[in-house]
Assembly symmetry: C2
Amino acid sequence: MLYSEMSKEQLLGEKEQLLKKYDEYKALNLNLNMSRGKPSKEQLDISNELFHLVDADNAVTQDGTECRNYGGLVGIPEMKKIFADLFGCPVENVIIGENSSLHMMFDIIAQAVSRGLDGEKPWLVQGKVKFLCPCPGYDRHFAITEYFGIENIPVPMTENGPDMDMVEELVKDPLVKGIWCVPKYSNPDGYSYSDETIIRLASLQPAANDFRIMYDNAYAVHHLYEDRQDDVLCLFQECIKRGTEKMILYFMSTSKITHPGSGVSALCASDHNIDLMKQRMQYQTIGPDKVNQLRHARFLKDSENIKKIMKKHAEIMRPKFQAVIDEYENELKPYGVGTITYPNGGYFISFYAPEGCAKRTVELCKQVGLVTTPAGSAYPYGKDPKDSHIRIAPSFPPLDELKQAVKIFSVSAKIATIEKLLQK
Amino acid sequence: MLYSEMSKEQLLGEKEQLLKKYDEYKALNLNLNMSRGKPSKEQLDISNELFHLVDADNAVTQDGTECRNYGGLVGIPEMKKIFADLFGCPVENVIIGENSSLHMMFDIIAQAVSRGLDGEKPWLVQGKVKFLCPCPGYDRHFAITEYFGIENIPVPMTENGPDMDMVEELVKDPLVKGIWCVPKYSNPDGYSYSDETIIRLASLQPAANDFRIMYDNAYAVHHLYEDRQDDVLCLFQECIKRGTEKMILYFMSTSKITHPGSGVSALCASDHNIDLMKQRMQYQTIGPDKVNQLRHARFLKDSENIKKIMKKHAEIMRPKFQAVIDEYENELKPYGVGTITYPNGGYFISFYAPEGCAKRTVELCKQVGLVTTPAGSAYPYGKDPKDSHIRIAPSFPPLDELKQAVKIFSVSAKIATIEKLLQK
């Protein structure tokens, strides 16, 4: 029976039962965490071969570069080739970064703010520049533009990507300088952009000459199922067809393929943008760690082999996603307590609590030792207008801990929902 | 006999002899390089143990952090401890970076330009801000401030460090925002700052609140001799004594201790500055590669062990420096062709050609296949007012190649000098 259809007495009775369970969890003094998109130890072990693939006598690339020494601003050829294949672009359009694609994104925004792009003035002196933030989205994207004093404009996410009507309207403002995108298995909904969304993005005619699509394909190869895999049109190629490739800065990394702490990131961009980046990088750095790139190139080999590696990840991830789905379908859905998304890949599931119940749910979880992502954090400035969204990150805890965590989560969500209904 | 004392006929005779030699070198079609402060292959081999010190079953720090996964913004404890001992500061005042201390420097200047320091306005909107550049100095330092449109002000280097009378005068200008320093075995002269220089630096009272000493101790442990080692007062400690520690940002790296392409960099700064850096870094990055830090911590161990490692480097470097000195003393000094510096450590020797002869010397070298650092590159905007200075980097070529290179260099310097004298 749906909570919304229960009488006050029924709700009070249900609440009493739930609080009993809740207190039992409290007594266990738990320390559980479902907050971060962090691979589990089992997943790290998939890539342990990395430690044995480069030694002093073979630390040389196919073009003869000694990786231990200085040199190589934009990456070694074998690493660029692997990413070029993933990006679907020529090798010349790839720049390899350090272990963090976020770092590459931050540095590009910093460059635009302090030096300007395309001969335009630095964003810092152009007035109150703005950035479009499809949301719920990735808090660390929004935090970068917020850090630089750029105004983050929320744009609703749909199952097909950002609300493109709104995006097309907003980019008529020359102070709108870009948009954050996670096109595949989006963080946190797990949605993938439709062909129409990609084509409309590639066809954008922003008023700002120095407009950029910050296109973070963080979950490009991170499928959960063999038989249900999302396929997203290549925005870079669609832009090239239309001559709009100056707009796109396309990122990936091995963070959730190999080892997140010591991976390799990459950028794909037009010749123009590659030149822009190099203009900064030649002053900024001696170039990223080539030894680690060589390790990765030898381990990853090619796109086919990456698929095999990702299958191993999926086998570990699938039961975890299933645990969240099962708990939702058995314990929340029958009572009308919120909705969830059903991603085919990525690292997250969105839970949409009944309006006004997200913060309270998170608070209740916290009080019994379960840390979840703070409510609202997937929205610019942490403001979820409906106080509804909670990002569930099931990857890190071992399966038995996760099963306990989702039970605590569902009890908390139910209590929060009943409390809300009783206030009416 | 000094060239300056020779008659025109004598000079013409000498030139003819030199051109014969010069043409012999030309016929050899050589490809030699004395341009970069790059360790040789032999030196890289000193640190090959690095490849075997971390594996999947021991990729955990002393505080239990799994290095393969996310986490750790400012470095692992064991790496911070080693650098803290080298810096002479508490562990809390250390931040570990990626493989490039230059990257840390660039990012801090970018932060000052785009966001401002100490609550002051961003440098970008403060007007034409300026930076002091002791020169000859490190071209890549000057290039960072130049990239951001900051005006580089040359300040003469002396055997004891920058001309402090001039520095004290210039910092009275509130638009002067900082100074670049290489305090020990300076690039390119190999000079070390005297106690007086350090104390005067620590006692500076710049008009700008957001003034910073960019203090790059790149050659802190890079002695050449057992019995002649420069000792430089710790500027960080001297600043703390005077309550001026907000001024100093103190950098080091393992670039020329282990492997330059895959080393570890570090920053030492006051609590105030550490907070400032963290405010940026929390948005900028997931944190530097912890696995590589762990490799380095296990290889370097402590300051005593680093001394042993640096002794091995010195054994390889010493004969190379001696080859430069011998060539100068045998082939240039007797003719009054320029002067050189005699460093006790570091990576470079400065050659000061007779005025107006540096560019021509470099050109002559290039025409017979010897690449040297471009003349003037050690000065802001590449402008050596005397066209005299050439940086000699003897580390990279094998000793036999280096010996050939310095012969070409001395012949070229002699020809350039005679050409100049004949013009008079």
